[in-house]
Amino acid sequence: MQRRPERQAPSPGRHEMRLRVNPVACDAFGYCAELIPELITLDEWGYPVVDEDPVPAHLRGLALRALRDCPRRALLLDTSAARGSPR
C-alpha cells in the first residue's frame, strides 16, 4: 500500500487530534482501517498506516469508535502539537 503523500501540517489549534498507533500493542486486526479508510490503510502485512494530519471534524466520531473497538487498544488520539520528526 502506498503511504499518504506529505502535506503541509497546519498550525496546531485548540481542538486538534491526531491518530497514532502503538505498534507494539497492534496485532493487525484491521478494524481501524475498516472504520476509517480515509485515514487508515493497511500495508501488505496487514498493519495500519496512519495519516498523521489532524483528524477532520466529520471523522472524529469514527476515530473515537475505532479507539474503542480496537481489540488491543492500540490506537491513540494525540492532542499535543504536530509531531515533527519521529522520536
Binding site: R3, C26, D43, W45, G46, V49, P86
Partner: protein, 428 residues
Amino acid sequence: MTVVDSTVTAQPVRLLAAWHETGRADLEAHRAVHGPLPVARRHDREYPERLLDAVARSGLTGRGGAGFPTVRKLQAIARVRRRPLVVVNALEGEPASSKDAVLLTLTPHLVLDGAELVGEAIGAVEIAVCIPEHRDDLARHLGAALAERAAAGMGTAPVRVSRLVGRYVSGEESALADGLAGGEGRPHFRVSKGAPLAVRRRPALVHNAETLAHIALIARHGPGWFRSAGSPEAPGTSLVSVSGMVQRPGVYEVELGTPVGAIVDQAVPAEPIGAVLVGGYGGAWLSGKDVGTPYTPKALAAAGSTMGVGVLGVVGRSTCGVAETARVASYLAGESAGQCGPCTFGLPAIARDLLALAHGDGDQRTLARLQMRLDVVVGRGACRHPDGAVRLVRSALSVFADDLAHHVRHRPCSGWNRRPLLPVPVSR
C-alpha cells in the same frame, strides 16, 4: 581488536592516555596520568551547577549513536525530585563496534570516574554498569576496578555491574531500562520521547560509556581543553572502530572534523576504498569519492551519510556493496525485537529483495518493490531499528547505483563470491 598507537599519526590521545603511557589499567596508573578525581567536597552546593556548566560549555554530545547534547539529559534529570539511577550503557550491540569494550578493558577507571561525577551531581542512589551477559572479560575488568576503588574509599553511590542480554537493540534506552528492571530487554513504545526513563519507578539517566569517559576528562581539564580538539560545531575527540578491508582494524581516537579518508588511512586500507559504512549497521554508506568529507554530524549528513555510533566499515572497489548490504540487512532483520509488524515483516522482506538483486535473481520490479517497502516501513516501529535498516539500504541503492544497474539485469557480480567483509554474527 588491535589498538594502534595513535601518537604516530598525530591524533590526540586523550581517552586512552593512561594505557598509552603506562600500559596499565589499574587505579594507580590511572591517577598517575589523569590526576585525582575532582570530586565534590562535602556540602559543596555549587558542584552540580559547575559540572553541568562545564559539560554545557564543552559542547559534548552523546557517543552512543544519537549524538544528543549531553548537558540536556543532565538538566532534565536534575529537575526530577526522586533520586535517580545512573546507568552506564556499555552493551555495544553494534557488531562492528568495540570502543566501549576497549574503554572498559584499558581504562575502566575513566568510565567509572565519569559515572561517579555525574552521580554526585544528580544525587544518584546507585550506579548500574550494563555489559553484555556473555562478556566474562569485561565483568572481570570491571570487578577488579571496582574492588580497587572500594579499597581506596572512593564513591558514595554503590556501583553494580548488570549483565544483560546483548542483542542488537538491547542498548536502546528504553530496552536497556526494561532489561535492568528484569524484563526481556525489548524497546518500549513511548508516546513522546520527552517521557523520562525509569527503572522500577526510579528515574534513570542513561549514558554511553564513552560519553562518561569524556565527562571525566572535562571535569579535570575544563571545556576549553575539550574544545581545543575538533571543530567549533563538532568539538572534541571520539573513538571510532575501523574494520573491513583494512590491514590494521581497531579502535582509533580521532578529532572530530578529520576527513573520513584520513581516519581510514590510519587503519591502512588493503586496496582503493570503494565505500565506507559510517555510523554502524543502521548508519549509511559514504562513497569512496566522498572520503574527504569531515567526520562531523553535519558534514556527513550533507554527504548523504550519518555519524551514528563511531564505526567505519571499509569496503574495496572490488567488493559488491549490494551483497555486503544484503548480508547486513539480513542480520538487522533477524535482530528485530519482533514487537511491531512493519519491522518484523518488513525488514526480512527488504533483505530478501536485496539478496535477490545481489544474486542476480532480481530485476526492475524487484527494485521498485524494495523501494516501496522502504517507504512503507520507515517510522512505523516503536524504536529506530527499522529506520536504521531503511537508511542503510537507501544509502546502498544510491552509493552502489552502478552495481545495482548491473544487478537489475539479472546479473550477479564477481564481488558476490568474495569472502564477506563486514562482521555479521552467526544468527541465533
